[in-house]
């Protein structure tokens, strides 16, 4: 019988998950996984935050809770407290009742909802041809999220300067100046993925000035708030600055990393509108999009986050847990850089400590990456991106030596 799906081609696997698979199958006892962006302890283990364990017990013990549907836009106490995390408790925009939110399935889901909305409603009713700019490089799923939402013109904006291993500010500003008016720009709020390179405050101010003047749409992706500096407010500086500049904007928030709630899919699309009337209409249309995608979001993770954020002692404990994670990353950065320097590995390695957040763009080229994987069983992305959380006090020497050997032997 002819199959309806006889012509369906085998798709190439998602790179980062394939990497994890290959790592799993590697028998080398010294293997190290520097691929997937999830936090690991110094024992190389996943870490369920102590505050999360506490709140889970609270939830299990509460017999008044049930599994009923959440509202289409999600749990209200989650949405509002999550937006406060991004914009600040005392955000004037919140006080002016022009901030709303949609609870979504992780950061991906928040990007998806924002993208779908923009395609339908941003600048006229059909934005399939509106250019969407993502940083070069960027998280590998950004492109697919916007393409799947119907955007046909997704372009890179200059961001990473491979030679100087830092931000290409001139290139970035240049692309902002030359982008067609009303283009949509996806900005990383902090801890840029994959480069770990963030603009300074002054640089952000320059970016904002051009975007305001040229009427470009601000779409923040905030997946690592707290992870960059260890301080949630510091990491939200860019988002909050843009709000003070009067932008109407979206901010896709993920609580996967800073709450360690990866598999509960906890995300929030924060919407800053000109006024509450515009906000109301925007939210009503968001509901329609949610309904044809997942109807209403999962309750467990949102409950967890809401209880934590709205209970002072638990909130303080969470800040502490976040700092624990950020501090370990900073320690590994300092360690790795020191060891490479001690080994006198060719090249400069300051970028390891200058970069921020979970990831580091090592500067290793694809051939060197292949060598690391094949010869040393150290798994990292072809781009040279490593997850600092994969480093531990026990494996850091091996990793440093391997980088040294690779750089010396492979060009």
């Amino acid at each position: 019988i002819m199959s309806l799906f006889g012509e369906v081609p085998q798709a190439t696997p998602v790179a980062v998950f394939k990497l994890s698979n290959d790592f799993k199958e590697d028998a080398n006892p010294k293997k190290v996984n520097l691929g997937v962006g999830a936090y690991r302890t110094d024992e190389g283990q996943p870490w369920v935050l102590p505050v999360v364990k506490k709140v889970e017990k609270i939830i299990v013990a509460d017999n008044s809770l049930n599994h009923e549907y959440l509202a289409i836009l999600g749990l209200p106490e989650f949405r509002s407290s999550a937006s406060k995390i991004a914009l600040g408790e005392d955000s004037p925009a919140i006080q002016e009742n022009r901030v709303g939110a949609v609870q979504c399935l992780g950061g991906t889901g928040a990007l998806k909802m924002g993208a779908e909305f923009l395609r339908r409603w941003y600048n006229g009713n059909d934005n399939t041809k509106t250019p969407v700019y993502v940083s070069a490089p960027t998280w590998e799923n950004h492109n697919a999220v916007f393409a799947n939402a119907g955007f046909e013109d997704i372009r890179p904006y200059k961001y990473w300067d491979a030679e100087k291993r830092g931000l290409d500010l001139d290139g970035f500003l240049g692309d902002l100046e030359s982008a067609p008016k009303h283009s949509i720009f996806v900005l990383h709020a902090c801890a840029h993925n994959p480069t770990g390179t963030d603009p300074t405050h002054v640089e952000w101010m320059q970016v904002a000035e051009v975007m305001k003047r040229r009427k470009l749409f601000v779409f923040f992706d905030s997946a690592y708030q707290g992870f960059a500096s260890g301080c949630l407010d510091k990491d939200a500086w860019a988002v909050r600055y843009f709000v003070t500049q009067g932008f109407e904007m979206f901010c896709a928030q993920s609580f996967s990393k800073n709450f360690g709630l990866y598999n509960e899919r906890v995300g929030n699309l924060t919407i800053v509108a000109r006024d509450s009337d515009n906000l109301k209409r925007v939210l009503s249309q968001m509901e329609k999009i949610v309904r044809v995608t997942w109807s209403n979001p999962p309750s467990q993770g949102a409950r967890l986050v809401a209880i934590t954020l709205n209970t002072p002692e638990l909130f303080a404990e969470w800040w502490d847990n976040v700092k624990t994670m950020a501090d370990r990353v900073l320690l590994m950065r300092a360690s790795l850089q020191a060891k490479l320097q001690a080994l006198e590995t060719p090249g400069t390695w300051d970028h390891i400590t200058q970069q921020i957040g979970m990831f580091s763009f090592t500067g290793l080229n694809p051939k060197q990456v292949e060598y690391m994987i094949k010869e040393r069983s150290i798994y990292l992305m072809a781009s040279g991106r490593i997850n600092m959380c994969g480093l531990t006090t026990k494996n850091i020497d091996y990793v440093a030596e391997s980088i040294h050997e690779t750089v010396v032997n492979v060009q």
Binding site: F5, P46, Y122, R274, D275, Q285, R291, V292, S295
Partner: protein, 427 residues
């Protein structure tokens, strides 16, 4: 909250601001965004909430309620949760296709433990965001890969959210006759007539059991004829099974049509929801299955489903799937679950019988047989919009304008009052 069981699509309404405000609104990106239409079901629930009549009844709710009118958390669910909590599992991302323990058990539940499809590995089952998410992934998959036909044929009427889901995915919607308002039953001949005219390779949507919103299901002999005709027409069958176990109380009986079609050689696609039968509504537990020609094709299809899922939400939520998997894979919990599903279905069936008995007691001479013949959570009463409006205004009994009531909202405590009201508006 049954937020989505609307059986009508209301057109959008534009807002026209007074001139003075125009200049402020003109400086917003969103000035041209129209106000989205209110959801008909939400509207019902909201009006119900505002009503101060102590005798009020909410029959719009598409979620099970116990005989006290309260949400019901299954005992097997609480036990599973306790077991899971004790295991101290991590929260690492699931695979894009979801929790393996869940997807395997999900497929077995639908197709039967010994099903040849599962044994030969020619199904691919992915975890989805409940039934809606499953239908959406299915719609996206068909839209991208089933390029010979763009049309999806829904029964008339169907769940209100089917149409916007398929439309948003780029498919076109058509309908086949299904409900007979004269009998409040199945228009079998009408359905066969319409199906016989459906162009080859089109997608036909079938509700596996407990048709929503009518509660009207084909009998097995009728299913057989439909299966035959669908094969003759060479149609792609999309089964929506949101109520397995909830219809008759027996999970195998409720899956009979799905299994029969597969036996007859239909390589179906199937959406499953665990919102109702495990009471896991807000945890968003569902599955999407494609029955393929062979295991090799299943691998290719799986790879493409992952490509579709990743840009929507990357990977699915763990909590509900973990609970469902624990129940399905632990013999005592599974047994307990079957008992509880049976209990829920039984309460619904009892309420149907009680309602009819009470209507007779009130002196109603109308034929209410369909209330008992229909199956599942919903009942298409046959009430007209004017009668529904009277019921709401005069008796504080809330339901959707199409006369659909959720039997889950009926209790032994309110069935008498409900019968009174219905009789009053129909005599």
């Amino acid at each position: 909250m049954a937020l989505l069981k609307s059986s009508k699509i209301i057109s959008t309404v534009g807002l026209h601001p007074p001139l003075g405000i125009l200049s402020i609104r003109a400086s917003s990106w969103w000035s041209e965004v129209q106000m989205g239409p209110p959801d008909p079901i939400l509207g019902v629930s909201e009006a119900y909430k505002r009503d101060t009549n102590p005798k009020k009844i909410n029959l719009g709710v598409g979620a099970y309620r116990d005989d006290q009118g309260k949400p019901y958390v299954l005992s097997c669910v609480r036990k599973a949760e306790a077991q899971i909590a004790a295991k101290k599992l991590d929260k690492e991302y699931l695979a894009i296709g979801g929790l393996g323990d869940f997807t395997k058990a999900c497929a077995k539940l639908a197709l039967g433990d010994d099903n040849e499809v599962i044994k030969s590995g020619r199904n691919i089952t992915v975890q989805t965001i409940s039934g809606t998410g499953s239908l959406r992934i299915g719609a996206n998959f068909l839209s991208r890969f089933h390029t010979e036909a763009r049309d999806v044929y829904l029964p008339k009427p169907s769940w209100g959210n089917h149409t916007p889901i398929f439309r948003d995915a780029g498919m076109q919607l058509k309908a086949y006759t299904y409900y007979d308002p004269k009998t409040c039953g199945f228009d079998f001949q009408g359905a066969l007539n319409d199906i016989s005219k459906i162009p080859e390779k089109s997608v036909i949507m079938l509700h596996a059991c407990a048709h929503n919103p009518t509660g009207v299901d084909p009998r097995p002999e009728q299913w057989k004829e439909i299966a035959d005709l669908v094969k003759k027409r060479n149609l792609l069958v999309f089964f929506d099974m949101a109520y397995q176990g909830f219809a008759s109380g027996d999970i195998d009986r409720d899956a009979w049509a799905v299994r029969y079609f597969i036996e007859q050689g239909h390589n179906i696609v199937l959406s499953q929801s665990f919102a109702k039968n495990m009471g896991l509504y807000g945890e968003r537990v569902g599955g999407f299955t494609v029955v393929c020609k062979d295991a090799e094709e299943a691998k290719r299809v799986e790879s493409q489903l992952k490509i579709l899922i990743r840009p929507i939400y990357s990977n699915p939520p763990m909590n509900g799937a973990r609970i469902a998997a624990t129940i399905l894979n632990t013999p005592d919990l599974y047994k307990e679950w079957l008992g509880e599903v049976h209990g829920m279905a039984n309460r619904i069936i009892t309420m149907r019988e009680l309602l009819v008995a009470n209507l007779k007691k009130e002196g109603s001479t109308r034929n209410w047989k369909h209330v008992i013949d229909q199956i599942g959570m919903f009942c298409f009463t046959g009430l007209k919009p004017e009668q529904v409006e009277r019921l709401t205004k005069e008796f504080s009994i809330y339901m959707t304008k199409d006369g659909r009531i959720s039997m889950a909202g009926v209790t032994s405590g309110n069935v008498g009052y409900l019968a009174q009201g219905i009789h009053a508006v129909t005599k």
